[in-house]
C-alpha cells in the first residue's frame, strides 16, 4: 500500500508540475502586454515601463519561469492587481466557501445517486427504473445556470423557501474560526441559528451543482449492479442461502461502487468548472466568484493562481478516490505492484 501511494503521489506531482508550466506559458504568449493590461489604457509609457520592471517582465523568459516556479514552492503566487493583496491570501480567504459548497455537493451526489442507482437496478425495467432514467437524463442535459435560475424562480421567488443569494443572512453576526466551513464551525460553537441559515443558503447552489453528476453516477451504479448480479459468486452466495439483503448490500454494492466512485473523481473537474457558474448565479463568495471577477478584470496573476488551485483541487480529489478504491478493491493496488 505504501508503495502504491508513493507511486500515485509521484505521478500526480509530475502532472501538477506540467500544469504549472503550461499555465505560465499560456499566460505569457497571449497578445498584449500584461503590464499595460493591468494598468489600463490611460497609463503613461513610463508607468508601463515601471510596471514591467516591478512584474519582472523585462527579464528573459527562462528567468521569469524560474522566478515563478520558485515562488510556487514558497506558496507565493504574486500580487493581485484587483485587490492589491497577495493572490495566495485572497485564495486562502475564498477557499473555505468553495470547499464547503463542493463538499456538500459531493455528499449530496453520493447519498442520492448511489441508492437511486441500486433501486433502479433492483427494479430494473419497471416504471421505477424508467423514472430514474428520466431523472438522470434531465440532470445530465440541464446546464447548471439554467437549473440554478429555475431553482431560484421556483424555490426562492415563488415559494420563498430558500434565500436567493449569498452564504449567510446579512443580519447574522458570525465568524467561522476553526475550519472556515460554516456548517461545521457553527456545530462546534452550538450556534443552531447559524447552522440553519447556512444550510438554507447552501441547498439550492449545491443542487444546481450536483445535478449533472447525480445523473451520471446513478446510471453507472445501476449498470454495474446489474453486471455484478450476473457473476457466479453472487449466484453461489444465494445458493448458500445467504439473505438477499446481505448479498445485495454487502457483496454486490461493494464491487459495484468502484465504477461510480471513479466517475465521481473524473466528474470533479466539471464540478469545479460548474462551480464558477453556480457561485456566480448565487453570489457565493468562493474562489470561483473571485476567479470570474479577476478574469473579467484581466488580473493575470490571480487568474493563474485560480486555475492552478483548481487543478490542485482536482488532482488531490483523484488521489483520494484512488486511495478509497485501493481499500474497497484490493486488486487496484495489487495490480500496480505486480507491474513492477
Amino acid at each position: 500500500m505504501a508503495f502504491y501511494l508513493a507511486k500515485r503521489t509521484l505521478s500526480l506531482l509530475l502532472v501538477l508540475f506540467g500544469l504549472a508550466i503550461l499555465i505560465f506559458i499560456i499566460a505569457r504568449i497571449v497578445p498584449g502586454d500584461p503590464a499595460r493590461i493591468a494598468l489600463g489604457p490611460l497609463a503613461t509609457a513610463n508607468q508601463v515601463l515601471e510596471m514591467r520592471h516591478e512584474m519582472g517582465l523585462d527579464k528573459p523568459f527562462i528567468v521569469q519561469l524560474w522566478d515563478y516556479l520558485s515562488g510556487l514552492f514558497r506558496g507565493d503566487l504574486g500580487k493581485s492587481f484587483l485587490t492589491s493583496r497577495p493572490v495566495m491570501q485572497d485564495i486562502v480567504g475564498a477557499l473555505p466557501a468553495t470547499f464547503e459548497l463542493v463538499l456538500f455537493t459531493i455528499i449530496l451526489q453520493i447519498t442520492i445517486s448511489i441508492p437511486l442507482g441500486v433501486i433502479a437496478a433492483i427494479y430494473r425495467d419497471t416504471w421505477v427504473d424508467n423514472i430514474s432514467r428520466v431523472i438522470s437524463l434531465i440532470g445530465v442535459v440541464t446546464p447548471g445556470f439554467v437549473l440554478a435560475i429555475i431553482l431560484q424562480l421556483v424555490a426562492s421567488y415563488k415559494f420563498q423557501f430558500f434565500p436567493v443569494t449569498g452564504r449567510l443572512d446579512a443580519g447574522i453576526d458570525y465568524e467561522a474560526t476553526y475550519t472556515g466551513l460554516l456548517i461545521i464551525d457553527s456545530l462546534i460553537d452550538g450556534r443552531w441559528d447559524v447552522l440553519g441559515d447556512a444550510l438554507r443558503h447552501i441547498i439550492l447552489p449545491s443542487i444546481a451543482l450536483a445535478a449533472a453528476g447525480i445523473g451520471q453516477v446513478m446510471r453507472i451504479t445501476r449498470s454495474s449492479m446489474i453486471e455484478v448480479s450476473g457473476r457466479d459468486f453472487i449466484e453461489a452466495s444465494r445458493a448458500y442461502g445467504i439473505p438477499e439483503r446481505v448479498v445485495r448490500f454487502r457483496y454486490m454494492l461493494r464491487i459495484a461502487c468502484v465504477a461510480p466512485l471513479t466517475i465521481l473523481g473524473l466528474e470533479f473537474a466539471s464540478l469545479i468548472g460548474n462551480a464558477f457558474i453556480v457561485e456566480f448565479v448565487f453570489s457565493w463568495p468562493g474562489i470561483a466568484s473571485y476567479g470570474v471577477r479577476t478574469i473579467l478584470e484581466k488580473d493575470l496573476n490571480a487568474v493563474i493562481g485560480v486555475v492552478l488551485v483548481s487543478g490542485v483541487f482536482f488532482v488531490v480529489a483523484n488521489l483520494t478516490i484512488d486511495i478509497i478504491l485501493g481499500f474497497i478493491d484490493p486488486r487496484n493496488r495489487l495490480r500496480e505492484g505486480a507491474e513492477k
Binding site: G18, L19, L137, V140, P143, F145, I272, G273, I295, V307
Partner: protein, 293 residues
C-alpha cells in the same frame, strides 16, 4: 418472449448495416433525439425565413412591446427592448451550431491523430503524448476556457479557440484506447508483414475501426459544446450584443427575475432542448453501433 424471438429471427437475415438501422428505428429515444437535432439545424439554417420577426435578431427596438409575456403573437414573449425572444432563440441556434462545427472541426482531427500516433508507435511517443494529455485533463475545462477567453478578449472566435484547446484530449484518450486494443489483432500484423507504410496502417487500417466510436462521441460532444459556449457567454465571455446568443440572453434575462421570468427561462429551455437532442441521438447511435465511448 415471442416478440424477442421474432426480433432475433429478423436480425439473422439482415446485413450489419440494416441491423444497425433496425435497432435505431426501434429506439424511441434515439428517434426523438434525431428529430430534435434536425429541427434545431433546420431552424438555424432557415432562420431568416422561419422567424416571425427577423428584425428582432439585430439591435431593433420596440418599446411599445417591451416585457411582453408569452402569447400567440410572441411565443416566447419579448425582452427588455421589445424584441421577439422566439426569433432571437432561432438566430441564437446559428451561433451555437457554428460553435459546434468550429470546435469539433479542429479538435476531433487533432485529437484523433494524436491518439493514433500514441497507440501505434507506443514507447516514448506514447509517453510524451499521453502524459501531455493527462496534464491537459487535470485542468478544469471551464476554468481554463474562462482564462483563455478573458486574456484574448471575449468573442465567438476566441471562445471557439479556448474550447478547442481543451476538447481534443478526450478524443486522444478514446482513440488511444481503441488502437492499443487493435494493435495485437492479426490484420495489423498482416499489414506490417506485407510491408505497408506507417501512414497506411494508421489511416487505412486502424482509423476505419475507430469511425463508429468517433461519430458517437461527436454526437455526444455537440451537446456539451453548446452547453460550454452558452456558459461562457452567460458569464459575459462570449459573443457581443446585439448578436443573439442563448447564453447572453439568459444572463440579460436573469436581471429581470422574477417578474419577467420568460426572458431568462425561454432561452434557457432552448439550450436544454438542443443539448437533450444531441444527447439522445448520441446514446441511440451508441446502442446502434454497439461501441463504448
Amino acid at each position: 418472449m415471442i416478440e424477442l424471438s421474432e426480433q432475433a429471427s429478423t436480425e439473422r437475415f439482415m446485413t450489419s448495416r440494416q441491423m444497425a438501422w433496425f435497432r435505431f428505428r426501434r429506439n424511441p429515444a434515439a428517434l426523438i433525439g434525431a428529430t430534435i437535432v434536425i429541427s434545431v439545424t433546420m431552424l438555424a439554417i432557415f432562420a431568416p425565413i422561419l422567424s416571425p420577426s427577423p428584425q428582432s435578431a439585430g439591435s431593433f427596438v420596440d418599446f411599445a412591446h417591451r416585457h411582453h409575456p408569452p402569447s400567440a403573437e410572441f411565443w416566447f414573449g419579448t425582452d427588455n427592448v421589445g424584441r421577439d425572444i422566439f426569433t432571437r432563440v432561432i438566430f441564437g441556434y446559428r451561433i451555437s451550431l457554428s460553435l459546434v462545427v468550429g470546435v469539433l472541426g479542429f479538435a476531433v482531427p487533432f485529437g484523433v491523430i494524436l491518439g493514433l500516433l500514441a497507440g501505434y508507435f507506443g514507447g516514448r511517443t506514447e509517453f510524451i503524448i499521453m502524459r501531455f494529455t493527462d496534464v491537459m485533463l487535470a485542468i478544469p475545462p471551464l476554468a481554463m476556457a474562462l482564462a483563455i477567453t478573458a486574456v484574448l478578449s471575449p468573442s465567438l472566435v476566441n471562445a471557439m479557440i479556448a474550447i478547442t484547446m481543451l476538447w481534443w484530449t478526450w478524443h486522444t484518450r478514446l482513440i488511444f484506447r481503441i488502437v492499443k486494443a487493435q494493435m495485437s489483432e492479426d490484420y495489423v500484423e498482416a499489414a506490417k508483414v506485407a510491408g505497408a507504410s506507417h501512414a497506411h496502417i494508421m489511416f487505412k487500417e486502424l482509423l476505419p475501426n475507430c469511425i463508429s466510436a468517433i461519430s458517437v462521441k461527436i454526437s455526444l460532444d455537440a451537446g456539451f459544446v453548446i452547453l460550454f459556449g452558452a456558459a461562457l457567454s452567460f458569464l459575459g465571455l462570449g459573443v457581443h450584443p446585439p448578436t443573439p446568443d442563448l447564453g447572453t440572453m439568459v444572463s440579460t434575462g436573469s436581471e429581470y427575475l422574477p417578474e419577467f421570468w420568460w426572458e431568462a427561462l425561454m432561452p434557457g429551455l432552448a439550450i436544454l432542448y438542443a443539448i437533450l437532442g444531441f444527447n439522445l441521438l448520441g446514446d441511440g447511435l451508441r446502442d446502434m453501433m454497439d461501441v463504448e465511448v
